[in-house]
Amino acid sequence: MKKFFKNFYLLLIFLFLYAPIVVLMIFSFNDSKSRRLWNGFTTRWYVELFRDADILHSLYVTLLVAVIAAAIATFLGTIAAIGIHNMGRRAKAAYLTVNNIPMSSSDTIMGVTFMLLFAAIGLDKGYLTLILAHVTFCTPYVVLNVMPKLRQLDKNAYEAALDLGATPHQALHKVILPEIMPGIVTGAIMAFTMSIDDFVVSYFTAGTTSQPLSVVIYSMTRHRMTPKINAISTILFLIVLALLIVINVRQSRDEKRREAARRKGAMQP
């Protein structure tokens, strides 16, 4: 009974989170531009979508920037986390405070300050500025996901590797990285998601050839949002959903296997 209520609660929250998305997905098949009045089923937005080079390009930009920014952020954030982990209390606190700023300051301020900054150092807006900005607000998520894994790490694991003849570089690769990998992966996924989700910062930092989807969507608001956008979002969403399901299924299979192995291990003398 209790369990039922718990599951019911989770269900309600997820209903809340997904209700608008379902609406959006349904109306990507609506035979009019209205996002609320149903005019019959059509797939024409999907058809048109694949003819709309601009929207496709902006999706490409979004994904490209997200991949690059997440990759850089993951690298930068991981080594930074390792460095910060080894710092004294004060330096650590200082780093983490600054690290927290992007997460706890408004997007608008960040976007504007980036714009001012890039103008000040004479950097033309384009992929570079976009990626720099994205890396900046993505990296903190990586740092914060990797730090706890480092804390969980056996203090001596790194030294054990050195002790066995590994150079610091090898120790990092063969011991530390595999150990903190779950944190890195979560961090990377979060960074990637944040990059995809961002609109304000991109808005201020994107160049002419590098307008991500969110900026394109926003510039449509003066006139009329085309349902093609709903269509592309639906596609994107379903792909990611499928991906996540695959990952999760694999994960739970691994978990079961490991559990089984452990039990078998415990029973042997």
Partner: protein
């Protein structure tokens, strides 16, 4: 100095302004099994870490086979370590853990396989190759850690309380196992523990430390039978430590009486620590002993009973295979040979 494999010369180390090592000098010979023994926080791990290269001494030198080692990074030292909580790599299985150092050295696959198999054999873990290390019991993990270090064929193996996390039974078994491995491989072991029985059982030489200072270095029997001060006496087995005054050579006064003893060379009327082991005190009839007291408590310890006997000046701990009833008045006797006279230790004076 030539036959010494490891030479520590006046190592000093502070952490945050607190001195942790106050000048450690120690020579360790080839094939020796040396144990660092001391209470928690006395600097054992720090000494080991300096030898391993994980910590730099503030001053003093580490020599290895006659060469100064201070600036050699850990991964270039022919020294391997078994860490206190094993520090196994959880993402690797048993065989991969053991083979780690060999992979680093880029040995060819066949060699790695062979050596790993040999090691598994040595530590009695054949058949465990593909097991997840996290699924092993404490003792098994311990053995993997040892195998992982030994397979690199170090000239010195450092072991930091390797048995600390194991239960008593298993600890005893592993003590024997470790000693056997040391004898078979002929590798120099530097071993850290705070368990004096472990130290006595396994070592060729024991180094007793306290507060970053070496108190005594010697064979287990030396240390046990001739502790240089009350700290060592008390730390190595339980002791009755009584304040006394050395009246003259072979004559010491304590508990309001004068006793004969075998120690000489103290100043006249020097205050000293008198150390008597509980098992050296004999319970005799009330009138017979030099001292007289009342049995205050008695506890069964298996091999013997432990009794607390209160005399006028001091409550003695006495070990005896015979039980006395609580409240009984008994006499205590001790032979002069078992009365150990010691200078007041720095510890006690401070």
């Amino acid at each position: 100095m030539n036959q010494n494999l490891v030479d520590l010369q006046n190592l000093k180390k502070e952490f945050d302004g607190t001195p942790v090592l106050r000048g450690i000098s120690l020579s360790i010979k080839r094939r020796e099994f040396v144990t660092l023994l001391g209470p928690s926080g006395c600097g054992k791990t720090t000494t080991l870490r300096i030898i391993g290269g994980f910590e730099q001494p503030d001053s003093g030198d580490v020599f290895f086979d006659g060469k100064r080692l201070n600036d050699v990074p850990p991964y270039q030292r022919e020294i391997n370590t078994v860490f206190q909580r094993y520090a196994l790599f959880p993402h690797l299985n048993v065989a991969e853990n053991i083979a780690f150092g060999l992979h680093i050295k880029k040995l060819d696959r066949a060699d790695i396989k062979r050596k790993t198999a040999e090691m598994l054999e040595l530590v009695g873990l054949r058949g465990f190759e593909n097991r997840d290390v996290t699924s092993l019991s404490g003792g098994q993990q311990q053995r993997v850690a040892i195998a992982r270090a030994l397979v690199c064929e170090p000239r010195v193996l450092l072991l930091d309380e390797p048995l600390g996390a194991l239960d008593l039974k298993l600890r005893k078994d592993m003590q024997i196992e470790l000693k056997r491995i040391q004898q078979r491989t002929g590798i120099t072991f530097i071993y850290v523990t705070h368990d004096q029985e472990e130290a006595l059982t396994m070592s060729d030489r024991v180094v007793v430390m306290n507060h970053g200072v070496i108190q005594q270095v010697g064979s287990p029997t030396d240390i046990y039978n001739e502790p240089v001060n009350a700290f060592v006496a008390d730390f190595i087995g339980e002791s009755n430590i009584i304040d006394g005054v050395m009246l003259e050579d072979c004559k010491v006064e304590f508990c309001g009486r004068t006793f004969e003893c075998v120690d000489k060379g103290f100043e006249k009327n020097a205050p000293v620590d008198v150390v008597i082991r509980p098992e050296d005190l004999k319970i005799v009839y009330a009138g017979d002993g030099l001292l007289q007291g009342v049995v205050e408590s008695i506890v069964f310890k298996g091999v013997h009973y432990e009794m607390m006997v209160r005399t006028q000046f001091f409550t003695f701990m006495v070990h005896s295979t015979m039980a006395e009833s609580v409240g009984k008045t008994v006499g205590l006797s001790v032979i002069p040979f078992d009365i150990h006279i010691m200078h007041k230790s720095a510890e006690a004076q401070a």
